[in-house]
């Protein structure tokens, strides 16, 4: 769980942040400004300062925000000058964009704001569609516009080349003013701000919506904020049917606003193409007569606060029904409320102005359970005085500005006298006491005004109604009462408090009726009185004693990720919690307890004791004889013969002490065939792997032996329940490990693999595994499962193991084992953590065109289902589609997926002539069918020996493979981010496998695969399928200096690369495996590609240059398998290509890494071993009839 930040502003305008793993508020030092409000998201924080300007704080990241500017230089050939700048009058500009329509010379490119800088000068792009061009980067064509080629032909009359230059956003971790020329045109200062909507558009666009409210109650939308433009481009006014005081935007498409009158507005029509939305719908205040003052929205929740400080929860809110269905009153009295990630809720209490966290908010219980006060100290109470000294001035400015502006505006004419008085009364404030008073009014602006108003109303109305909820005790301030008597609020209060219906007072979970009126026709009767109340006298309110901690004014959890299993240490700061948090720290694997002397002492003494008491007495008889232990159960078995079907069987595991003392066992499967009782048995020590195959209908698992791997036909069993299956798997797994004497964590040499279900397996290599003459056949390898869920694992022989989840989260191995369903003894205790993963389930909506009604969901009788899977063969509706297995739960609603290969139209449709055909994103005359893909996220929570490496999501990773005895201090580790950035990890050692930070390595285009070889040779594959070699990478220069473009094999787009000690192998998108020829120390780029095999999905080259692949279409004696781990036989130093394949575990395997195995085979083979292996040889060779050793079986 990476840490994230909760942001808050105190009444002095100082900004603080609190980490989810921290225990104190950290003062944001950079802020020499005071802030009124802020709104945080994970990547940045927007705020309104007391100087009325909007500021942006983009959090620093190891990956910079950079933008590629490009322009094209166009030339035409003429017989005199050859190719020259002299173009025909009808031609495009000499410098233009890619279309040629826009004139854009190099000098016209300006930095969008002072917060950007150029990375370097313009340079020519010498990569053309994945292939390197000639030196100057020209591409040739007959004429503009036409198809360009990289080769000059006899008829090439024009040529062009692409120039690129990067600009980089430099203002990180600092508050930068959003350039004033953009805000200057606005009529009045901003008063509220909210940021969100990042879930609507997918990466890499990453658009954000920023909404702001001005003092006059107008609403503004900031356009063009996205990943490449964090500051956005311009403000657009959004018409509103009233005066808005506050607005809130959720991570998705929810936007709610509060009107002066106390009613609420809901924005409709927000979508992927229109973050701004289209119209407002009005929702009445939760409490009749008591208007809302504050609203906060999340993904599926809306919370509101009314003037009497009551907190309300809106029922039934979701993307389809943004208005929800009814209010529920909650316990607690708050002045403001904020909803963060995962719909978690924070609030500021009315009485104590403390920050509260809503406990127990889960997906199934969005309203949570109770308010808990966040009580952690602030890092500096001292900066107080200096801050307030400067704040006096800004306070004055602020109020002056407010008065002037409002008197100019006619909207608030009826409120004007009060406003002027308010401004007037600010001046005498210091006279009230001699003590240097915190200047409350200056900070809090009008929001504070309305709070003060509501404070009073609360005070008054509470005299009529029973006291507030139990969590916040009420206190009476005599000062206030004095104020009350003198204040005009008294005049108004009867009507206000009269409106308080006692039935709403303090009852939690009580529902209010729906008050939903659409359009701007809300109840405006109270408007005038309320707005005048809201601006009334605030001069003398002084609720805070000088010795108290400053109160909080604002909190924002939009960047704060709290999940139900997150342990927060925010609620008391005693020593015991400090102890707990130390365990959570990022220092991997080694907790203080593990290094403690007492622990070491116990291990040593126990070892000594065993030696002393037992070593010389092992010939003594055992007091307790070991007996056979049997466990029985019933299961279903997938019958070995046709017709294949599930049959009920009795299942028994007999365990006993084997001949050499280690435990062993036999597995019996009793079945009846033709009324005859029969059984099948497997020796536990022959089992090579147990694979859980959980699907939505049955809890099944597969048992393989070497023989059954050859057959591609495991014993398939199904247990009645998931729990039963896990019990059996855990027991069988322990039994298998015992019989092979394997226990504890995987060794550094271990070979790791991952199945298509994300299950992780590990195998301990023997020295004979990579023997050159007679290696151990890979189908005899024993694999055991390790907890967790990953898509990719990479490792090296120093024990550094990293993984990447389906959701691109990076994980590092903690050195433990077990987790998942391996409870208790099959699992280590200290280094198992919660692991989550998220993936999408896809279904397709199919439609056919007919001349009458156009596209409809009525297909031809021969057509596929109107809702189907990708193949169209299986019906998959939104309702009947389940998560992939019981381990997964839905984490979102169905949404249209626009990120489909081939592109889509604005509604996500892809068109084709008929099913099934190739689909494209725009409708043509020849198209008669269309489809669109719907995606729904599902989430898995499990445990395993993995710890998250935040914050950058990754798509590929590679670790330097080392020789058996090498000592490397800093382990080179490279990765590709999910956006395609190349990254180099710093600070990775065998003791700190997680490393410290990323170094960004610039590239001209996004990358997708990377691999580093034994002598720091780094190869990578770009998204366009071309290969690159990184020059000059060494220990001293870990990031190297430049990329060399390596041409791909003709006509192929490369997909993945793996580099061993010297060998370089790549796989292309058509499943071909290529070997790089001519790689020498002096010419590491090599000379040409040689085709080795087809039907290859992935390759892993190890530190001994051993070659392992994941192959498709491997024929076994019983069945064909896809996704099979295979090893190249006959690989020798002088023969790095080997000669044939040896088939191991599969199908259903997605990934394997042998990069940890640097165990070299013993030079002299025992004769007996040799015999043993020759005996198995014929079996192997019989599986390999192909000429080139291709794993093609059919």
């Amino acid at each position: 769980m990476p840490s994230s930040l909760l942001w808050a502003v105190d009444v002095y305008g100082r900004v603080y942040s609190l980490s989810t793993v921290g225990q104190q508020w950290e003062h944001c030092r950079d802020a020499h400004l005071e802030f009124k409000r802020l709104t945080a998201v994970q990547l940045c924080c927007w705020s309104i300062a007391c100087d009325h300007n909007i500021y942006l704080n983009v959090h620093a990241s190891d990956v910079p925000i950079r933008y590629q500017e490009e322009t094209y230089e166009n030339q035409r050939w003429n017989p005199v000058d050859g190719f020259s700048d002299r173009l025909l009058p009808s031609d495009r500009w000499l410098w233009s964009d890619v279309t040629g329509l826009k004139h854009q010379p190099l000098g016209d490119f300006q930095l969008p704001s002072e917060n950007w800088e150029w990375e370097a000068d313009w340079y020519m792009d010498e990569n053309f569609g994945g292939e390197p061009t000639e030196k100057e980067g020209w591409t040739y064509a007959i004429d503009f516009p036409a198809n360009y080629t990289k080769d000059k032909k006899w008829n090439s009359c024009v040529r062009r080349r692409r120039w690129i230059r990067y600009r980089r956003y430099k203002a990180q971790d600092t508050w930068v003013k959003i350039p004033s020329e953009q805000t200057g045109s606005l009529p009045d200062p901003f008063n509220d701000i909210t940021c969100g909507a990042w879930e609507i558009t997918e990466e890499p666009r990453g658009c954000l919506a920023l909404w702001a409210v001005s003092l006059q109650g107008k609403v503004w939308f900031r356009c063009g904020i996205n990943h490449h433009n964090p500051e956005g481009s311009s403000w657009e006014e959004v018409p509103v049917p009233g005066e808005v005081v506050q607005i809130s935007c959720g991570p998705g498409d929810l936007v709610w606003a509060v009107l002066w009158e106390g009613h609420l507005l809901v924005r409709e029509g927000i979508g992927r193409d229109c973050l701004k939305g289209s119209s407002w719908v009005m929702v009445e205040s939760p409490s009749p007569g008591v208007g809302a003052v504050h609203v906060a929205v999340g993904v599926n929740v809306v919370w509101a606060v009314t003037k009497d400080h009551k907190v309300w929860f809106r029922r039934g809110v979701n993307s389809h029904n943004p208005c929800g269905s009814g209010w529920i009153g909650m316990v607690g009295e708050m002045v403001m409320i904020n909803v963060g990630l995962n719909d978690q809720v924070w609030a500021i209490g009315f009485e104590d102005r403390a920050v509260y966290f809503r406990q127990g908010v889960t997906a199934s219980e969005l309203s949570g359970k109770a308010w808990k006060v966040v009580s952690v100290p602030r890092d500096s109470e001292r900066s107080h005085s200096s801050a307030s000294a400067s704040s006096l001035q800004s306070a004055g400015c602020f109020f002056g500005g407010e008065v002037r502006l409002q008197s100019q505006a006619s909207v608030l004419s009826d409120a004007e006298p009060e406003t002027e008085r308010a401004g007037g009364e600010v001046v005498p404030t210091p006279e009230i006491g001699d003590v240097p008073k915190p200047r409350i009014p200056k900070v809090t602006s009008d929001s504070f005004i309305s709070e003060l108003v509501s404070d009073r109303e609360g005070q008054i109305s509470r005299r009529d109604v029973p006291p507030a909820g139990p969590s916040i005790p009420e206190e009476d301030h005599p000062e206030k009462e004095v104020e009350d008597r003198a204040s005009p609020a008294q005049v108004l209060s009867p009507s206000q408090s009269g409106g308080v219906d006692p039935q709403w007072s303090n009852v939690d979970l009580e529902e209010a009726q729906t008050h939903l009126t659409s359009g701007p026709g809300g109840d405006a009767a109270e408007t005038s009185s309320l707005s005048s109340v809201a601006t009334y006298n605030l001069a003398l309110e002084e609720p805070y004693g000088p010795d108290e901690h400053p109160k909080w004014a604002w909190v924002s959890g939009g960047g704060c990720l709290v999940e139900c299993h997150t342990q927060l240490n925010w609620f008391n700061s005693s020593a015991s919690t400090a102890l707990n948090s130390s365990v959570q720290a990022m220092s991997l694997s080694i907790t203080p307890a593990q290094t403690a002397a007492w622990r070491k002492q116990i291990f040593e003494q126990l070892s000594e004791r065993s030696k002393r008491e037992m070593e010389n007495f092992m010939h003594y008889e055992q007091a307790i004889e070991q007996s056979v232990w049997v466990k029985k159960g019933t299961m279903q078995w997938w019958r070995d013969w046709k017709p294949h079907k599930w049959v009920d069987v009795q299942f028994a595991l007999e365990q006993f002490s084997g001949a050499e003392g280690n435990k062993d066992g036999i597995l019996f499967i009793y079945y009846t065939f033709n009324d005859e009782k029969k059984y099948l048995h497997v020796f536990i020590n022959e089992v090579t792997i147990l694979v859980p195959v959980l699907n939505d209908s049955k809890h099944t698992f597969a048992i393989y032996t070497a023989e059954r791997i050859k057959q591609r036909w495991p014993i398939r069993l199904a247990a009645a329940t998931e729990l039963e299956m896990h019990d059996w798997l855990a027991l069988l797994s322990v039994s298998c490990c015992d019989s092979r004497g394997i226990q504890g964590p995987p060794s550094k040499q271990a070979i790791w693999s991952v199945t298509c279900k994300g299950d992780i397996f590990v195998s301990e290599p023997t020295k004979e595994l990579e023997a050159s003459l007679y290696p151990t056949p890979s189908d005899q390898m024993f694999w055991r499962q390790v907890g967790g869920h990953l898509r990719i694992i990479e490792t090296n022989s120093l024990g550094v193991v990293w993984g990447i989840g389906y959701d691109h989260t990076a994980w590092v191995h903690t050195g433990g084992y077990g987790g998942g369903f391996f409870q208790g003894l099959a699992s280590s205790t200290d280094n198992i953590y919660t692991q989550t993963d998220v993936k999408s389930v896809y279904i397709y909506e199919n439609q056919r065109w007919n001349p009458v009604t156009g596209y409809t969901n009525r297909g031809l009788p021969t057509d596929r289902y109107m809702w189907s899977d990708a193949s169209g063969l299986k019906e998959c509706t939104k309702n009947n589609t389940k998560p992939p297995s019981p381990n997964w739960t839905w984490a979102s609603d169905w949404t249209i997926d626009y990120a489909v290969p081939g592109g889509t139209d604005r509604e996500g449709w892809q068109y084709a002539a008929d099913f099934p055909a190739s689909y494209h994103g725009n409708k043509t005359l020849k198209d008669f069918v269309r489809r669109r893909r719907w995606a729904r996220k599902c989430k898995l929570t499990t445990t395993g020996p993995w710890q998250e490496v935040p914050p950058i999501p990754l798509s590929d990773i590679t670790i330097l493979p080392c020789g058996p005895k090498s000592t490397v201090e800093q382990v080179p580790l490279w990765a590709i981010s999910n956006k395609g950035d190349v990254l180099c990890r710093l600070g990775v050692t065998s003791l700190t496998p997680g490393g410290s930070s990323w170094l960004h390595v610039g590239t001209d285009q996004p990358f997708k695969s990377i691999s580093i070889g034994g002598v720091h040779q780094v190869w990578a594959i770009a998204k366009d399928g071309s290969a690159f070699y990184r020059g000059s990478v060494s220990d001293q220069n870990p990031a190297g200096d430049c990329w060399y473009h390596i041409p791909s094999p003709t006509g192929q787009k490369l997909k993945q690369v793996s580099v061993g000690r010297t060998s370089v192998y790549t796989v292309d998108e058509n499943g071909n495996l290529w070997y790089r020829h001519g790689v020498t120390p002096s010419y590491p780029q090599g000379s040409s590609w040689e085709h080795i095999s087809n039907n290859v999905r992935k390759v892993s080259v190890g530190p001994l240059d051993q070659v392992w692949i994941i192959a498709d279409k491997v024929q076994g004696s019983h069945s064909l398998s896809c996704g099979t781990a295979c090893r190249r036989l006959g690989v020798l130093p002088m023969e790095p290509k080997g000669h044939s394949w040896d088939y191991g575990i599969g199908g259903g395997w997605d990934h394997i890494t042998v990069r940890g195995n640097a165990l070299e085979a013993p030079r002299i083979l025992m004769p007996s071993l040799t015999d043993n292996h020759t005996a198995t040889r014929p079996l192997l060779t019989s599986n390999q009839p192909e000429m080139n050793g291709n794993p093609v079986g059919c």
Binding site: L579, I602, F603, L606, S607, M614, A623, A659, G744, T829
Partner: protein
């Protein structure tokens, strides 16, 4: 064959443990070491017993965590061969004249009475003159089972207000007992780990179940309510426990050591947290048995 096998297992355990120490030891291994700890014993028939012919001594490896009467069926069979049926009453054991209480775990008896003597441990077998005031009768294994289960229940009352043990079913209780009786580490721990759980926010059990034994005291043992974490939130250690119950065991820097504080034949450092000790060095009965013996004067 069997003993050979065990040797392999133990030596592989030992070498593995050594390796683990180099890298990073896992607390799991402590549980294994504790469970598989064995004491070599030489049983000789008391000269006071009347025999038909001379009885050979009987050598046996006794599990430290088990009970004498539970693991000595073979001893009984061996000596019955040389005795007349009428001379045989209930079997009992003594060491250097001290009757051995079967209801203490074997390891505790050994640490308390014989830890600094040469191995094997010479135990005298008696069939007559049962010391009624020193020993409990043990007519069958069901008495041991009852004693064992009552200890577990008492321990869980201290640790979890009996919540965990009461949530278990009868067969779960049986699994604990059978695990001990048949020396099935996995079987026992599959169930026992539930008894070792605690809510993370508490930082440990409610109270630590422990017993302190001394050789020279008339009291059978010391027992007291003791929490793993102090009210101020500090982790309490073995030293803290001794300070409270047996301050004499803690000696100043310059003083010669007067007492040895032994658990499972080892002397943990005083700064070892009690919670960790309770989780890892408790006997199967879920009590931490601590023996305090005078330091050898050599």
């Amino acid at each position: 064959m069997t003993s050979l096998g065990v040797k392999d297992e133990l030596s592989s355990n030992a070498s593995c443990r050594h390796l683990m120490n180099m890298i990073m030891a896992d607390d799991k291994d402590v549980l294994r070491d504790v469970w598989f700890g064995k004491i070599p014993a030489c049983f000789t028939l008391s000269p006071e017993e009347t025999t038909e012919r001379e009885a050979e001594p009987y050598y046996l490896l006794l599990p430290r965590v088990s009970y004498l009467t539970l693991v000595t069926d073979k001893v009984k069979k061996h000596f019955l061969k040389v005795m007349k049926a009428e001379d045989v009453e209930e079997m009992w054991f003594e060491y250097e004249g001290t009757p051995l209480k079967w209801h203490y775990p074997i390891g505790v008896l050994f640490d308390l009475l014989a830890s600094n003597t040469a191995l094997p441990w010479n135990v005298t077998v008696r069939f007559k003159n049962f010391p009624e005031h020193d020993l409990l009768h043990c007519p069958s294994n069901s008495v041991i089972e009852a004693h064992f289960m009552s200890c577990i229940k008492e321990a869980d009352a201290l640790k979890h207000k009996s919540q965990v043990i009461n949530d278990m079913q009868k067969k779960d209780h049986k699994q604990l007992w059978m695990g001990l009786q048949n020396d099935k580490f996995d079987q026992f721990w599959a169930m026992n780990r539930k008894l070792m759980e605690y809510p993370t926010e508490e930082g440990g059990f409610r109270y630590i179940p422990f017993r302190i034994y001394q050789t020279m005291s008339d009291r059978p043992f010391l027992q007291k309510l003791f929490r793993p974490v102090s009210p101020e939130g500090h982790v309490l250690t073995l030293g803290d426990l001794l300070k409270e119950l047996f301050p004499a065991a803690i000696c100043a820097e310059d003083e010669p050591k007067r007492f040895q504080v032994m658990i499972h034949g080892i002397e943990p450092l005083l700064e070892t947290p009690m919670q960790w000790l309770s989780e890892h060095l408790s006997h199967p009965d879920n009590f931490l048995h601590i023996s305090i013996i005078p330091a050898p004067s050599d």
